[in-house]
């Protein structure tokens, strides 16, 4: 498996990008050139000065170093993406496997409820949920998780439906395995590949949604550093200081790109039929 990932250029590049981001998130306080919270009204909107200077990527409206804030912001983006995707993965897999395995009324009830969530345009639903629960990082994660659950549930369900008729499941029944054991130890283990791919690609979506919510002022509140909020700050000075908007956005693009590359690569590895197609 590891060999296959190393051979797949897309997955490898994705892992490198994500690895670098995770490292910078973990070691953020040691990597930031200056204090990301330090304000200096004498150095407002400094243009990017380039490598080796005080403000490599310039400063924002309060004279805070943009590079330092981008590095620090990695923490929030990755955390929100990871937790939101994790919640949606756990709940989606449980709902999807119950629906697929039990069938009948449980299937109907669960999947109709998923259809109901899917009737709302994704970002709009997240906005509505946060508007209801109130702004903040935790509510943002809840909102993103809810929006992502139906996709996870659908994929899990289709995997379970396909696998539960297989002979090895029948064999497990025959030797007297319980339902839980069959579902988790036999079916889900074998059908997990597309779910993992979807979750990886979902990280990118989650990070963009978080940025959108923060951009609208609904995400994590200051002093927490969020790339989306940095963009909304930059928007105020688009004419004179476009760099305030440019770089945090690039950070989002690179992060999402990393997860998309890894997701695409994993899909190729796990489902060779789709390769180069």
């Amino acid at each position: 498996m590891v060999k296959k990932i190393l051979k797949n250029r897309s997955a490898l590049l994705g892992i490198l990008i994500i690895g670098a981001l995770v490292l910078s998130a973990v070691f953020a306080p040691y990597l930031t050139p200056t204090d990301p919270f330090a304000q200096n009204l004498f150095t407002r909107y400094v243009e990017p000065q380039g490598l080796g200077e005080d403000h490599v990527l310039g400063t924002d409206d309060l004279g805070r170093d943009i590079l330092a804030r981008i590095i620090m912001g990695t923490r929030l983006s990755l955390t929100v993406g990871l937790i939101a995707t994790g919640i949606s993965l756990i709940i989606g897999v449980i709902l999807g496997s119950v629906a697929g395995y039990m069938g009948g009324w449980a299937d109907n009830l669960i999947m109709r409820f998923m259809d109901l969530i899917l009737a709302f345009p994704g970002v709009l639903l997240a906005i509505a949920i946060v508007a209801t629960l109130g702004p903040g990082m935790v509510n943002t994660m809840i909102a993103i998780a809810i929006v992502r659950i139906p996709a996870m549930a659908r994929v899990t369900r289709s995997q379970v439906l396909a696998l539960k008729e297989e002979e090895f499941v029948e064999a497990a029944h025959a030797i007297g395995c319980g339902h839980m054991r069959i579902l988790f130890r036999h079916i889900l283990i074998n059908g997990f590949a597309p779910i993992v791919v979807l979750a990886t690609l979902g990280m990118g979506t989650a990070i963009v949604t978080e940025a959108s919510l923060s951009f609208l002022g609904l995400g994590a509140q200051p002093p927490a550093i969020s790339w989306g909020r940095m963009l909304s700050v930059g928007r105020q000075a688009l004419r004179n200081a476009p760099h305030v908007t440019l770089y945090p956005g690039l950070a989002i693009v690179v992060t999402v790109l990393g997860f998309n590359l890894l997701g695409d690569g994993m899909r190729d590895i796990l489902d060779p039929r789709l390769k180069n197609n």
């Binding site: 906005i127 629960l133 940025a211 963009l231 440019l246 999402v256 197609n277």
Partner: protein, 327 residues
């Protein structure tokens, strides 16, 4: 087919019923007393009681829901707290702008994605193929509202041709005016205004569609009937466009429907960036003013539009591919 359409329509009504319950509950799940939310800070006990009665908050939840639903079905979505205007009127005035932007974005996406996808498939493995795949991977990783900001900062601010915000007269009203008066300016104004919002909103969709068109084309180009068509001496161009493309577009059409939802959601943020007078911006402004009837009504209407588009796409699938049998 007709029976299938009826069944889908019935299911749509059920789903919309569920949607209405969720949207109704928004105000009631929100932490705090809804009346306090409505009243703001400065009020007397009398105001409180009056509002309580006016909105029927003193009645049971199901009672409140059915009276709200009854009014919503008649087109009455309540009164905006801040503006004192019927919510349905506010939404009605802005829905045209939102739909126009969404359609323009789909137009941009389809016009770039399908030629690019076909080209990438036909020139598989060449630099054109690789470049289009790299560009689409980048585009799909970009938050639309950031692209919007970048286009504004680096393009619109330096080009007098491209306006920074607003909708002008709108493309469709502009077109009508042009047709009636023979003056091309209104139409041009509309196009000029919609260009950047449509590009920033449509690019991510274009990326998804390009990849899909390419893989779908590759699949079809390997089919036996394509080889047969080539073997009997048909020109390659003709085979690509007549035999392959028409069949390759089937999955693309489905995805346009699914992506339309992402587009309507993304439009909420993009509209805010361009000060586009649509429903999305109305909702965002209402959230910051805690004007809940507008948020409720706006979310309800956008979900309705989205569900209708999906229904139309599903049904059109049957027309495009007569082999599909509904049971």
């Amino acid at each position: 087919m007709f029976e299938y359409a009826l069944r889908r329509l019935f299911y749509l009504i059920l789903i919309l019923f569920g949607v209405s319950v969720l949207v109704f509950l928004m105000v009631h799940i929100a932490p705090g007393d809804p009346v306090l939310v409505l009243l703001g800070e400065d009020f007397t006990q009398e105001d409180y009681d009056r509002l309580m009665q006016l909105h029927g908050f003193d009645r049971s939840l199901p009672e409140q829901y059915f009276s709200w639903l009854g009014r919503a079905l008649r087109g009455d979505l309540g009164i905006s707290i801040r503006q004192g205007v019927p919510v349905s009127l506010l939404i009605w005035q802005r829905m045209g702008a939102t739909v126009e932007l969404a359609l323009a974005a789909v137009f941009v996406a389809v016009c770039t994605a399908i030629p690019l996808g076909v080209l990438a498939a036909v020139k598989r493995g060449t630099i054109i193929d690789m470049a289009s795949m790299v560009v689409s991977l980048l585009a799909v990783s970009m938050p639309p509202f950031w692209l919007a900001l970048v286009l504004l900062a680096y393009l619109a601010l330096h080009t007098p041709l491209l306006p920074l915000f607003g909708r002008g007269v709108g493309v469709v009203p502009g077109l009508l005016e042009t047709v009636t008066t023979g003056n091309f300016d209104p139409l041009w104004q509309g196009i000029r205004h919609v260009l950047l919002p449509a590009i920033s909103l449509g690019l991510a969709m274009a990326a998804v569609l390009t990849r899909l068109t390419r893989s779908s084309m590759l699949d079809i180009l390997n089919r036996d009937y394509v080889r047969t068509a080539r073997a009997k001496g048909l020109a390659y161009r003709k085979v690509v466009f007549k035999h392959a493309l028409r069949n390759a577009l089937m999955p693309v059409v489905t995805i346009i429907g699914v992506q339309f939802g992402a587009l309507l959601g993304g439009a909420v943020v993009t509209e805010t960036v361009f000060a586009w007078p649509g429903v999305g911006r109305l909702i965002v402004n209402a959230i910051s003013q805690r004007d809940f009837p507008i948020v409720q009504g706006g979310v309800l209407m956008l979900a309705l539009v989205f569900s209708l588009v999906n229904l139309i796409v599903d049904l059109s699938y049957g027309f495009l591919n007569p082999r599909i049998r509904y049971d």
